[in-house]
């Protein structure tokens, strides 16, 4: 099976004046197509940094990162946004929806950015919301939705352009047990039915039960 993500000896150092924080200390990692990978670790272990680098939101200090067969460390910053748009779906820790948009338009947004008309984007978004059982919420704005609903809408938004890779940062972080299960069931379904590679970083052990492989990240190193 081919690899969708490859990390070669990746380091990330944050410099804040005289203070240097080494968030990642030579991480090498390979994720196969269609995998459901769970990266676990305590707070401050570098999970979010690793996920930001995989999702091209951040660049490593050293090392090389390949996503979907492309060396993303060599892509200029200006081109990375469109690369993400075409290849990667991202679900953030705090279900980051845009408060000015309805649930439907939040989901449709990546499709509109990628060139679909507003009507076409909404049509595709409606289909996804229907699949997730959230049709009745399409006109609601984020503050009117529950935490679980917001996270599922964020997942729908990440899926609308049919990405090969879905990366999730603590997707169950603030949810009650019922909502956690609903979100994890959804991720598992997407992975199984659509073959989408899912990478989740979390400190929630429940996620590991849904994944096909688990890794532990401790103090910037994969154990």
């Amino acid at each position: 099976m081919s690899s969708i993500v490859k990390l070669y000896n990746v380091t990330k150092v944050y410099v804040d004046g005289p203070i240097e924080v080494r968030a990642l200390k030579g991480v090498s990692l390979e994720v196969k197509n269609g995998e459901f990978l769970c990266i676990m670790g305590p707070s401050g272990s570098g999970k979010t940094t690793l996920l930001n680098i995989i999702s091209t939101l951040d660049k490593p200090t050293s090392g090389r990162v390949e996503v979907c067969g492309v060396d993303v460390t060599s892509i200029p910053e200006k081109k990375l946004a469109r690369f993400r748009l075409r290849n990667i779906g991202i679900v953030f820790q705090f279900h980051n929806l845009i408060p000015e948009l309805t649930a439907l338009d939040n989901v449709a947004l990546p499709a509109i950015i990628s060139g679909a008309s507003v009507e076409e984007g909404r049509r595709r978004a409606r289909k996804l919301l229907d699949m997730l059982g959230l049709s009745h919420r399409e006109k609601h704005r984020p503050p009117q939705l529950s935490g679980g609903e917001r996270q599922r809408i964020a997942i729908a938004r990440a899926l609308i352009n049919g990405p090969k890779l879905l990366v999730c940062d603590e997707p169950t972080g603030n949810l009650d047990y019922k909502s956690k299960v609903a979100v994890l069931d959804l991720l598992k379904r997407i992975n199984r039915e659509h073959g989408t590679t899912v990478i989740v970083v979390t400190h929630d052990p429940l996620v590991a039960e849904y994944s096909s492989r688990s890794l532990r990240l401790i103090d910037g190193r994969i154990k």
Binding site: L57, D58, K78, A81, N96, P99, D105, I112, I113
Partner: protein
């Protein structure tokens, strides 16, 4: 060059525009106020310029003035008749005097004229508000303010004391009201031949009216080359033009201040808005929007604010001008109308868009520089 999807930019800008209600109201109100003041200031300045020049040129100030001895008048009239641009001319004798009526007196300038020639040249007779334009040896026409000072009315007599001390009794046949204080409170029109007889003055001032007042410089230049002491209105009305320049300077300073103050207010609102929307901007960029698109979204919202502020400010200015035009505005005893032109409306549009877009550009730039990884780690 970054990818730019204008459909997405328009979509997001419209959503932001509809959602940021408080900011939209505040910024549109600021642009409306600034546009309103801009249009009103410049339309008043236009009106003031128009009124000042129209009232002064030809009336208080001739288009061209030629100072000449009576002996050369015939030669000059021959010359003037040869210019098609010359509409009319009127010889005048000027003389300072004291006007007395009962126990009231006032310093005046007597202007000796031939009534028909003066009618064709200055058109002063159009401003007669009482009596008639009738100048004979023992009649005079004077301004409304002077008539008030002397407590004299049409049909009553005033006595003019000439520089020689000789009195000259004149019946007031008409009173004019030009709105130009200098004329209304100081000038008395009398018969030229009689004034010449009484004073022995031989020097004349010939006022020339042109079909196109803006050809006064070239005519004056021609007359000078022929040896005449000629001056165009731009030299004669130097103080009026300077006054208008000063007025224009203060208007520009006022508009500049409005621009800066309004702009700083908008910058402040936009910086607060951008700071509070960092996460939202981070999401946009994380899901695929380019920095240029984020910049253009913010800029488009600011342009929409500018256009709406312009329309509202223009409507308000037109409504105010329409209301005040009926009531008229008194300014140095001139009634100053509001004079709008397409140029003013166009420059006001540029003004509104400049305020809103330049003020928002900095925030738009800051928004476009936001790095999603930095703003989305924490709740």
């Amino acid at each position: 060059m970054e990818d730019v999807n204008f459909r997405f930019i328009a979509f997001m800008a419209s959503r932001y525009f509809l959602s940021w209600r408080k900011q939209t109201v505040v910024i549109i109100a600021a642009v409306t106020g600034a546009t309103f003041l801009y249009l009103l200031s410049y339309s008043m300045l236009n009106g003031l310029t128009e009124v000042t020049l129209s009232r002064s040129l030809g009336l208080a100030v001739p288009h061209v003035e030629v100072r000449i001895n009576e002996s050369r008048l015939e030669g000059l009239t021959d010359v003037l008749e040869g210019y098609s641009v010359v509409e009319a001319y009127s010889p005048r004798i000027l003389c300072e005097a004291l006007a007395v009526h009962e126990e009231y007196s006032h310093g005046v300038r007597l202007i000796g004229v031939y009534d028909l020639m003066e009618h064709n040249t200055s058109g002063i007779d159009e401003y007669i508000v009482e009596g008639d334009w009738l100048i004979e040896n023992y009649t005079c026409i004077l301004g409304v303010k002077l008539a008030e000072e002397l407590r004299v009315d049409v049909g009553e007599n005033v006595t003019v004391i000439l520089p020689s001390g000789r009195p000259w009794m004149l019946r007031v046949s008409g009173i004019f009201d030009t709105g130009v204080a200098e004329l209304d409170s100081y000038i008395v029109y009398v018969s030229l031949p009689k004034l010449r007889d009484l004073t022995g003055l031989k020097s004349l001032v010939v006022a020339v009216r042109l079909r196109d007042p803006f050809k006064s410089d070239s005519l004056a230049e021609d007359l000078r080359s022929m040896g005449y002491d000629a001056k165009p209105w731009s030299e004669l009305a130097e103080n009026i033009l300077q006054l208008l320049e000063v007025e224009s300077f203060y208007s520009n300073a006022l508009i500049g201040s409005i621009l800066v103050i309004t702009g700083l207010g908008i910058v402040n609102v936009m910086i607060m808005l951008t700071e509070s929307r960092k996460r939202s901007i981070g999401i946009l960029k994380a899901i695929g929007a380019s920095s240029m698109e984020v910049f253009l979204i913010y800029l488009l919202v600011s342009v929409l604010w500018g256009i709406l502020g312009y329309l509202a400010g223009t409507a308000l200015a037109l409504a105010t001008a329409s209301y005040l035009r009926e009531a008229t505005v008194e300014y140095f005893s001139l009634k100053v109308p509001f004079r709008f032109s397409s140029g003013i409306f166009f420059s006001a549009l540029l003004f509104s868009l400049t305020i809103s877009s330049i003020s928002c550009s900095y925030s738009a730039y800051r928004a476009s520089r936001i790095r999603p990884a930095e703003v989305m780690r924490f709740e």
